[in-house]
């Protein structure tokens, strides 16, 4: 299945809504370079759970080998990486 980065972003924000609410942030407020880890929205185990949920929803599996670990928890690059991989790996 091919998935767009926007679809992934929507799902991620939907999943994280309670944590975002707690910070007083709405989905539109979240910029592309928002770091889910350093902003305290998610912990490292949360990232794995998030990946599991995104993959389950879209029926894809993603290899993160090429994604710079510094970008793994930044919402824009994270979503685009999964979208890009859905094009090449899962077709």
């Amino acid at each position: 299945m091919v998935v767009s980065a926007e679809d992934i972003r929507s799902l991620v924000l939907e999943k994280l809504q309670p944590s975002l609410d707690a910070k007083g942030l709405s989905a539109e407020d979240v910029p592309d370079n928002f770091d889910l880890l350093t902003e305290g929205v998610i912990d490292s185990m949360g990232i794995l759970q998030l990946i599991v949920e995104v993959e389950a929803r879209f029926g894809i599996t993603t290899d993160f080998e090429e994604l710079d670990p510094e970008n793994l928890t930044i919402i824009g690059p994270f979503c685009r990486h999964i979208a890009k991989k859905s094009l090449t790996v899962n077709r």
Binding site: L16, D43, G46, L48, Q49, E65, P69
Partner: protein, 542 residues
């Protein structure tokens, strides 16, 4: 040569755990000792920095305190020079961590009674909060700060020295170190809500270092990972085993640790040491591909149960390395048992898919006992007690807890540490296997968390009488985090969580608080944690 000439190899103090570093600094002055944040420090450079700090500590530390110096620094050059400086000055080091809440750091500093601390640039913003209630005047070394005028006026009762105020390295005077002196004081989670300080002596670490350097044939060509924060005692393995033989410690950033595959390759690591959770992450992210890490000679895991599938995947990703599972609580100095993974043989020795903790280090003695501290027969489960040269000195200023945990069992004549871990006493030559905990301590990515501590703070912050914390989700090596339940409905979970974040390190803060009107009880009238776990299994994960 300057300072180097003053410490010839013959008179370098070999008894302290920094003796190995000084010895290597003589032999390998221009080889790298530490790589951190893109900076490479040679042995000579690191020694100079450490001696300059140590000389400043010797000159200006207020008298009357314990022989301890705090190092408030995180994955920085100052963290390493600070640790060495504390030791060179004749003190033990007390690691503090800016990723912990300042309240917790302040408690640790107060409890330690340190009169001197070394602080790196990025930890400095927290000083205000940490020093708030400091009772005694302190010496604060800020080697990364040029201008200290504003700080001096703000904290006039403390002595503040910046980069230009430090003593030259040549002023350092060697201090003899007794084998029983504290090398480091490390705070771990305590069930009553107050962190307890484990006193580890130089001779404890020296035993581990000599055993490990020989076993792993460490040389000046080795390159060690430093995945552990200094507040985690396993970090001491990386530093002191590497420095003993002139090897380099390579310290990645916190975020790189989420997927350190590229770091392992780029830094050309030869010795890997982490909690198994890092391996679990990497496998999930697709980073453990066959042959990926050809430079690794040793792959070591410790801190939580090692799932067999991770040992297997790591072996294939690092085909030239030997995978070993290490075991040991802080009170037994880093690690005291080990098991070598051997494909084709080890699978059958695993218990419920978890790699055995194996065999004690040479010189360490194992005893598996029942509740009366009597040895159980082979094949039976019991609490693991260990004795030997790595048994720590006890808990800082806490004779009561020390007496409870460090015991002489009936019919024995040496002190054993009660690990609180349940193991299966092996039959004949079989390896020892980990079964579980006796109490409510859990491991979150290798960090010890007493659920009792979380519950006590929850009760306090929520103003309720009953609060329960459970490890959730269950992972092959422990728990992914904590979820909490409190009795009541007029509460504001988010506000409680915000307050907890100010008291607990991030890994120990519950991810959610669930309000219940009643708690499930088991037939004995105790809270049924199994039922609570079932509740969680039915809830969405976020």
């Amino acid at each position: 040569m300057g300072t180097a000439a003053r410490l010839s190899r013959a008179n370098a103090p070999r008894q302290g755990i920094h003796g190995g570093f000084l010895h290597s600094a003589e032999r390998y002055a221009h080889r790298p000792a530490v790589e951190v944040r893109g900076t490479i420090l040679t042995y000579d450079e690191l020694r100079s920095r450490a001696m300059s700090l140590a000389a400043s500590l010797q000159r200006a530390t207020p008298s009357g305190g314990p022989p301890l110096t705090a190092v408030f620094a995180y994955r920085s050059a100052t963290a390493y020079s600070g640790v060495l400086a504390a030791l060179l000055s004749g003190h033990g080091y007390v690691p503090l961590n800016r990723t912990f809440p300042p309240d917790r750091t302040r408690t640790m500093l107060e409890r330690s009674g340190c009169r001197s601390l070394i602080v790196d640039g990025e930890s400095e913003p927290q000083l205000e909060a940490v020093l708030q209630l400091a009772k005694e005047p302190l010496l604060i070394l800020l080697p990364e700060r040029a201008d200290t005028r504003s700080l001096r006026s703000r904290w006039s009762r403390h002595t503040i020295l910046g980069a230009s105020d430090l003593e030259p390295a040549g002023k350092f005077e060697e201090k003899p170190v007794l084998p029983d002196s504290i090398a480091y004081l490390l705070f771990t989670s305590g069930s009553t809500g107050i962190p307890k300080g484990v006193m580890v002596a130089h001779r404890n670490v020296a035993h581990l270092v000599s055993f490990m350097t020989a076993r792993y044939g460490i040389s000046e060509h080795d390159r060690f990972s430093q995945t552990f924060d200094m507040t985690f005692d396993l970090s001491a393995f990386d530093m002191f085993v590497a420095w003993e033989r002139g090897a380099c410690v390579c310290c990645p950033s916190e975020k790189t640790l989420l997927n350190p595959a590229k770091f392992i390759q780029d830094a050309k690591l030869t010795v890997w040491f982490s909690v198994p959770s890092v391996g679990v992450f990497m496998k999930r992210l697709g980073a453990l591909k066959a042959g990926r890490f050809p430079t690794l000679r040793w792959s070591l895991f410790c801190g939580e149960p090692l799932p067999a599938e991770i040992a297997e995947s790591w072996s294939s990703a690092a085909p030239k390395s030997v995978v070993e599972n290490l075991y040991g609580p802080t009170e037994l100095t880093i690690a005291c048992c080990l098991y070598r993974w051997q494909e084709g043989k080890s699978e059958a020795e695993c218990l419920r898919g978890v790699v055995p903790v194996g065999y004690p280090f040479a010189g360490m003695d194992v005893l598996v006992v029942d509740e009366e501290l009597r040895e159980v027969p082979p094949g039976e489960d019991g609490e693991l007690l260990m004795a030997g040269p790595q048994v720590a000195l006890g808990y800082w200023q806490d004779p009561e807890r020390t007496a409870t945990a460090f015991v002489v069992p009936p019919g024995r004549n040496q002190t054993y540490y009660r690990t609180g871990d349940r193991v299966r006493r092996p039959k004949e030559t079989a390896p020892m296997c980990y079964v579980g905990r006796l109490d409510h301590q859990i491991k979150i990515q290798g960090h010890r968390v007493e659920l009792g501590e979380v519950e006590s703070l929850l009760r306090q912050e929520a103003g309720v009488e009953v609060a329960v914390a459970v490890g959730w989700p269950i992972t092959p090596s422990g728990a992914g985090g904590i979820e909490a339940f409190v009795l009541g409905n007029q509460l504001e979970p988010r506000a409680i969580l915000e307050r907890l974040k100010r008291k607990l390190p991030a890994y120990a803060v519950p991810r959610r608080i669930h309000l219940l009107s009643e708690l499930p009880l088991n037939p004995n009238g105790k809270i049924d944690r199994g039922q609570l776990a079932k509740l969680l299994a039915d809830l969405p994960q976020f």
